[in-house]
């Protein structure tokens, strides 16, 4: 979870020393409505009577001063700021409402309604959480004796378990679906076979790369073939089946068979 604030967490800087100029941090809030609610409370009046204009001003200042770490987090606040700025202009200018538009007063009333509703929900949240909770305040029989009176509950399985199982299955499947494609390479074995076959046909020292296989494919394959051919030549020299000579640095590599029969 990203939202860490406990209902019991009272550390939020709502009650600043200078109540009209709170310096607040977005991190401590649950979104723009939360900020508005906190600001509204500084007006020390009933929510129904808050000055929307003052609230708008406070919010715009808050957004201007807020330290924003993540842009996506700021988006909600910026949208609200824009809406409030619009509301403010509507409230200040003489009313000329288009038919399909809300009047400024209605807009303000709706904002007030939302704040009141959130505040009310918070109140009932607190009431709910302060109820006697099972396993916190009240306790069931600690050592139940095994009676199953309900006949259907043979298995202790919840819908959550099913969703979890399906999600886990999907998670695993999405991992299992990753396939690493085999890279096309000209293998060392191929190069060895190729070189063994051809080296017998050469009479004398031959540039190793004369033995490059034909039609190996694209540039990548060709590079792979070159590398494998070189490794193959080293391998054959190690086995005493071939000799390799290079006259100068980066010069051509010459190879010949060791036990030439002629």
């Amino acid at each position: 979870m990203t939202e860490q604030h406990s209902i019991f967490d009272d550390s939020r800087p709502v009650t600043g020393d200078d109540e009209h100029r709170l310096i607040l941090d977005i991190e401590g809030f649950e979104g723009p409505l939360d900020v508005l609610l906190s600001l509204a409370r500084t007006q020390k009046v009933d929510l129904k009577q808050i000055s929307i204009l003052e609230l708008v001003q406070q919010f715009l200042e808050f957004v201007a001063e807020a330290k924003v770490q993540k842009l996506e987090k700021a988006a909600d606040y910026l949208v609200m700021a824009a809406w409030l700025a619009y509301l403010k202009s509507r409230l200040l200018l003489p009313e000329e409402t288009a038919e399909d538009e809300l009047s400024a007063e209605e807009m303000a009333a709706r904002l007030t309604y939302q704040l009141q509703r959130l505040s009310a929900i918070r109140d009932v949240s607190a009431m709910l959480m302060s109820r006697n909770q099972l396993k916190r305040d009240v306790f069931a029989r600690g050592k139940p004796e095994s009676v199953i009176v309900t006949k259907n509950a043979t298995f202790d399985l919840s819908l959550y378990d099913i969703l979890r199982a399906y999600a886990d299955h999907k998670t695993r499947k999405s991992i299992a679906d990753i396939r690493i494609h085999k890279r096309d390479v000209y293998t060392l074995d191929q190069a060895l076979d190729h070189l063994r076959n051809l080296i017998g046909t050469a009479i004398d020292w031959t540039d190793l790369f004369q033995f490059m296989p034909d039609n190996v494919g694209g540039a990548a394959m060709s590079r792979s073939a070159k590398a494998s051919l070189f490794t193959a030549s080293l391998e054959m020299a190690r086995q005493g089946k071939a000799e390799i000579v290079q006259k100068q640095t980066f010069g051509p590599l010459f190879i010949r068979k060791t036990d030439r029969s002629d």
């Binding site: 979870m1 939202e3 406990s6 959130l118 009240v138």
Partner: protein, 211 residues
């Protein structure tokens, strides 16, 4: 069978269980025609004021320790996991507004619901899907479970604290009627293919009701 014997039986059954039992299940263990409701309220009265009380939760019955003794018992259990503020608020909105969609929860809180919150609430078995709303996009609705009622000692969601006040103040009206349109409701990601294999058009909204 005498009344006192019948009371002994339901006492034994309820005492032995750590989960609430329905009166129907209890009646199964009693002779035909037993007045289960009366027996239960007799038993409840007998335990009034004792260290253990008989309570009705989620429409079922269970014994639990008296709430005023919580101070004594609490130290015996591990510190309970604390829900985040966001989770508590989300739970409350789901409980009071159910059935409610994710978008509506976001609308009430004025902020998008961060991932994992619903997961936590569903893992605690407090929240459950309640069917799809018959609106465009057919969004999933959520509500509370019996387990939620048992945990918070409620007989039904109608007993939620402050419910009447919220309703009277008009805060439980259709969330969208009061829209500020601050949050974009159209979330294409929430749309999803319906599960094929079920073509029936069925009702979704079932109002707050303990199943």
């Amino acid at each position: 069978m005498e009344i006192i014997e019948q009371i002994r039986i339901i006492e034994a059954l309820l005492f032995a269980s750590d989960k609430p039992l329905s009166s129907i299940a209890l009646a199964d263990c009693l002779p035909e025609g037993a007045k289960i409701t009366e027996l239960l309220s007799d038993l409840q009265e007998q335990y009034q004021g004792r260290g253990v009380n008989l309570v009705e939760v989620a429409g079922k019955w269970m014994f639990q320790t008296a709430p005023d003794l919580a101070f004594l018992l609490r130290k015996e259990v591990e510190e309970e996991k604390r829900l985040s503020r966001a989770a508590v608020e989300t739970l409350a909105i789901i409980a009071y507004h159910q059935p409610v969609t994710r978008a509506e929860v976001e609308e009430v809180r004025g902020v998008s619901l961060s991932k994992g919150i619903l997961d936590v609430l569903m893992e605690a078995r407090w929240v459950r899907p309640m069917g799809r709303r018959r609106t465009p996009g057919r969004p999933m609705t959520y509500g509370t479970s019996d387990h939620f009622l048992v945990h918070f000692g409620l007989n039904s969601v109608k007993d939620l604290p402050g419910l009447a006040e919220l309703k009277a103040a008009g805060f439980l009206e259709n969330v969208n009627t009061s829209r500020l349109n601050l949050l974009d409701d159209q979330k294409p990601t929430e749309e999803q293919p319906e599960l094929p294999g079920s073509e029936d058009e069925k009702t979704d909204d079932q109002g707050p009701s303990a199943e």
